[in-house]
Subunit: 225 residues, 4 copies
Amino acid sequence: MGRVNRDIRREQLLEAAATVFARKGYHATRIAEIAHAAGVAKGTVYEYFPTKEELFYALLDSWLGQFERELLRRLEGIADPLQRADVVREAAVLFYRQHASHAPIFLEFWAHALRSPDGRFLQRIQQFRHFLAQLGHQLTEELVARGIFIPVDVPSLVHLEAGISDGIFLLWVLSGRSFPLERAYVFRQSVLGLGVLSDEARQRLREKLAQKLRKGFLEERPSEE
Amino acid sequence: MGRVNRDIRREQLLEAAATVFARKGYHATRIAEIAHAAGVAKGTVYEYFPTKEELFYALLDSWLGQFERELLRRLEGIADPLQRADVVREAAVLFYRQHASHAPIFLEFWAHALRSPDGRFLQRIQQFRHFLAQLGHQLTEELVARGIFIPVDVPSLVHLEAGISDGIFLLWVLSGRSFPLERAYVFRQSVLGLGVLSDEARQRLREKLAQKLRKGFLEERPSEE
Amino acid sequence: MGRVNRDIRREQLLEAAATVFARKGYHATRIAEIAHAAGVAKGTVYEYFPTKEELFYALLDSWLGQFERELLRRLEGIADPLQRADVVREAAVLFYRQHASHAPIFLEFWAHALRSPDGRFLQRIQQFRHFLAQLGHQLTEELVARGIFIPVDVPSLVHLEAGISDGIFLLWVLSGRSFPLERAYVFRQSVLGLGVLSDEARQRLREKLAQKLRKGFLEERPSEE
Amino acid sequence: MGRVNRDIRREQLLEAAATVFARKGYHATRIAEIAHAAGVAKGTVYEYFPTKEELFYALLDSWLGQFERELLRRLEGIADPLQRADVVREAAVLFYRQHASHAPIFLEFWAHALRSPDGRFLQRIQQFRHFLAQLGHQLTEELVARGIFIPVDVPSLVHLEAGISDGIFLLWVLSGRSFPLERAYVFRQSVLGLGVLSDEARQRLREKLAQKLRKGFLEERPSEE
DNA sequence: CATGAATGAGAGTTCATTCAT
DNA sequence: AATGAATGAACTCTCATTCAT
């Protein structure tokens, strides 16, 4: 294997790691297999990542950072809270779609964060959640302030939304990705929307949302991958 | 440690396993540590469970089976769908409360189900979800039929509810169990309720639910344990 | 399992041990399996034999002793050396035939005798060989003295005969007992006979032995079991 | 221990394995001890042989293959059947002499072949026997055809010879290698020779063979090692 | 930079043996 | 006498990590 730019090689390794970690899980993954998948020798992996766990962490950090940056980029210049909500949902769906085959790895991240004495995994995940929560807060506060949402405890609602997102994702992964993730997110938004919209806003959106509720998100298509 | 009844010893071992698996995660758990926690020698564990994975599976099966049986017991003779919904929620909360300190282990089960070539874990989890989904179906169909809920794609809503429950649980676990799980479930029910209740039902419950939304579920108490 | 006479139980255990040792080999044999085959519990084996190796030794001793006693019984009152030779051969064949399905165990005894730091196995086997060698000596000396055999170094010939017997047995076992052991022993006797018979004796037996040589011992029958 | 050529390291390991297996037997041999004897770490053994049994098999295969190749090399260009018989005997004796201290290991191979559910050991041994039997057939057929041997069932005689060879070897090993193996083989040849030689050939060789019979093979020297 | 042979601590598992009942 | 639950020493094999080349 020829010499390539250090950053490129690093990316190759992360990609290979993602593939293998996703298929086997963290513990069943052998460094040798990652090296093989990346087309390099075992020792080379250690030129880029000092330990297996560090590599795993680098992958988490890489993905979350990527998503954070992408989301900020997309939100630039968009002020309307409803539009912003859509942008967040779209970015999330796009991200998951890109990493669909790696989805199981997120369960590994979560489990690892809980079990590892090294707090970094948990911290990084909480930092990410905090990042999303902040966006959620601004957004929800504004919707309440504008009278689009009824009065609600914003932190609770934001937490709930985060939980729901992860829950749907979990469901999606454990069901073998048997339904279109995006439609599930939209469905969720419709149910929640009907729940917290003010009477005035509800009147406007009622029919559209009700239709979505009747339609559901479980399609004939087995997967959206 | 003296001789005890075989079933009791088995329970002791499952309990010890739960404790250690929850604290360390599946892979970091050493059989010797489980044995030690149960007050027996390493070899004794193997008198009851042929492999570490079998022990892990026995734990999953024991818990889910326990919950299934308990829930059926509680639902006996209760016909009203709203009451049934409450019973389900209460049973779930009670179950989680009983196993609060073991909560992280569910992430392990999920991750394991996805990574293990042995399909049993995934199957058992899906069987459990199916069990809950059936209850949810009956219940939701009836609520729609009675005009309490607006028309909605029942399977989708049931799926969504399941996802939300797991999502809240996940949130709860990853946040270090920093909020009262029960209140979060109630809060969820209020939001969803407002979303799918028919106009007529909404009028009746409106104030009560709106108040719950304003209150939220994030308490001063950092944990309910 | 009811109580039985101690000696009978001991025999049952030896028999069960023989079966399992023969099928699995010494090391792959589990005490539990012997107990099971004998219809008793694991602990019971230890009431009769203090260790696994002791049980193995008891089996060797039982078999060799049995053969020694039986052979002496059969030789009683028989003086003619040629007849005595036949009796020895018959007894050996009968013994092997009785234990045909246990045959592989002899390889285990031999291997064990060589590897065990405990010299007892080797000693017992050598004692048995010595017993046979003594009979062979007397017999051969007499045949030489009577001029039936040509002058020959008797110890060497006796050794050779012993080696040949074991060799044929080994061949028989490793070939899956694919030929009639008895005929092979007779064939051997014919070849050796022609080799060491004096001219005078040869003339008498020539045609009979030559015929046996032409016939061989490899039959259509795949086994004599 | 520094890096060495892969083939050389493999040979070192086989040699170390031979030594330890011969001294302790297959089961009592610890991989760690083989590694130690070869001057490497435990893990290194597994870089070359995936399991202990595979290593054991590799040893069997290496020895038998070595002998087969060496024998074919020595027989090249030799046509006279009596000479060929001598070459075979010499090669066998030389081989055993080289591996004298490893002799007990052959008993392990035999026992292992019978007890292992993996048929490879038995197959390899039978393949080796077949190789020798083929040589024996050609040779004996020719001796009969030329009238040097009396008419005899060739397959039986070849089998008998093989059995005798192994039997003498077994005797030699179990007696602690207490006599010169080569002389025993020669002695055997003399006895068999006298048994199957035609009258004409016997007249020529009679005195020489008879002398060998009188001399025997049990020497004052306790061992030829 | 890249390699892959070498390392060795450490894991799950086995099973002969013990002994309370 | 018979049992079988309990024991724990000991084993094979794994694999992250190192480092000489």
